[in-house]
Symmetry: C2
Subunit: 209 residues, 2 copies
DNA sequence: GAAAAATACGAACAATCATTCGCCTTTTCC
DNA sequence: GGAAAAGGCGAATGATTGTTCGTATTTTTC
């Protein structure tokens, strides 16, 4: 696995014509399929290009390196997940605890549905984990959860609230990952989601008391 | 990264003389150092052998492949962690909740102290994750936690108790990992440990109610 | 002390992969 | 319609790595 200079994971150049836009889309679709089918271990640019019906050279015209493809996939996942959680957690029509319930359930479900690709993306994390873009995503997630916590436990001091928000975020992400790798059926996913929600709600109530 | 036939991760042959026993020990020490220093990405048998002051050929006399070295490292970690948690969680002198507190604190601390190697071992998980030995370890962990839960919430039905035990296990492991990768100081580790213990205890009490 | 068993060695082999670059084709723009 | 820009191609390159195997050394056995 040769490692050369790392031009970050930013895009190399923007597609300007319709066919190149399609080409990038094809590459991303193929990348997701290769990741799910062959695993992070066998995720190679050649294989992705082949699956997409495209040449390797073309791939490198829009992605500076392999990491960039993986990061783009993860980026899209993060964006979708962030939108989902943001929508649920800021829904003032529901009590904080109910929002959490709903968030856990929806999140666990989507994680489980794409379990194979998520797992492979997790395995590939070392490739993109430490990029500035990844850090920015994590920060955005933290802020969203802290905003939620301000509504859920307004009486709690800022420092302790921040720790609690981090803990909930970690639990959501980490347990979600565990569940999606462990659970065998949607029913089982829901059982774990219910249990996790019970736990988080119990924690929330203890914090407000 | 060539992948050939996989002779599992079992030992290839047992050292019979003193010098070979020492050689295996040197290899494992070197492996831990290489993992911590260079990361899973650059963990190669050649590098390990070099660091150990030993030839690659010798390494392959006692380990069937690279995975086996990694698995052995993880195996030793698991064994130590299991002993630690078992000891704490079965200490009848403490209330269940206090055992959990102590377990979380101790576990988070040891995770954090070896953060670099743990993270790299986590990155290397795809190499050994699906071996029967790994499954056996996970099963043992589950059983220990279920035994604890029988004492902590005896009134709860078996099925729900099993789900709760799994959830606590996932939370402990997954959040511990997150914390060890995130926390910057022992004080911060303890803050997270306290918060996680609060959460788990609140859950335990809700379950008994 | 000599044959046998165990150990140790490390150059060589066989894959695999990320990435480039010279060349050709298609689209855009005037 | 033709020049220029954008897109597309894929064999070749340069590295790295996991693992083997023939040979040399050390220890054990009798």
């Amino acid at each position: 696995m040769p490692t050369r200079a790392r031009p970050s994971v930013a895009s190399r150049k923007q597609p300007k014509q319709a066919r190149s836009t399609q080409l990038v889309a094809d590459i991303l679709t193929a990348a997701a399929q290769v990741l799910a089918r062959d695993g992070a271990h066998r995720f190679t640019t050649t294989r992705v290009a082949e699956k997409a019906g495209v040449s390797v050279g073309s791939l490198y015209q829009y992605f500076p390196n392999k990491e960039a493809v993986l990061f783009r996939l993860q980026h899209d996942e993060w964006t979708a997940t962030a939108a989902l959680l943001d929508r649920i957690l800021s829904d003032a029509a529901l009590a904080p605890c109910d929002r959490l319930r709903k968030a856990v359930r929806e999140f666990f479900r989507t994680e489980w549905e794409e379990a194979r690709m998520r797992r492979a993306l997790g395995d590939a994390a070392p490739y993109y984990r430490d990029t500035p873009e990844a850090t920015r995503h994590r920060q955005a997630g933290r802020r969203a959860l802290q905003a939620f916590m301000r509504q859920a436990v307004p009486s709690l001091g800022g420092a302790r609230r921040a720790v609690a928000a981090d803990l909930i975020g970690m639990t959501l992400g980490a347990v979600g990952k565990s569940v999606s790798e462990t659970a065998a059926s949607p029913a089982q996913v829901d059982r774990y989601a219910r249990a996790a929600a019970d736990m988080l709600c119990a924690y929330l109530q203890r914090l407000s008391a």
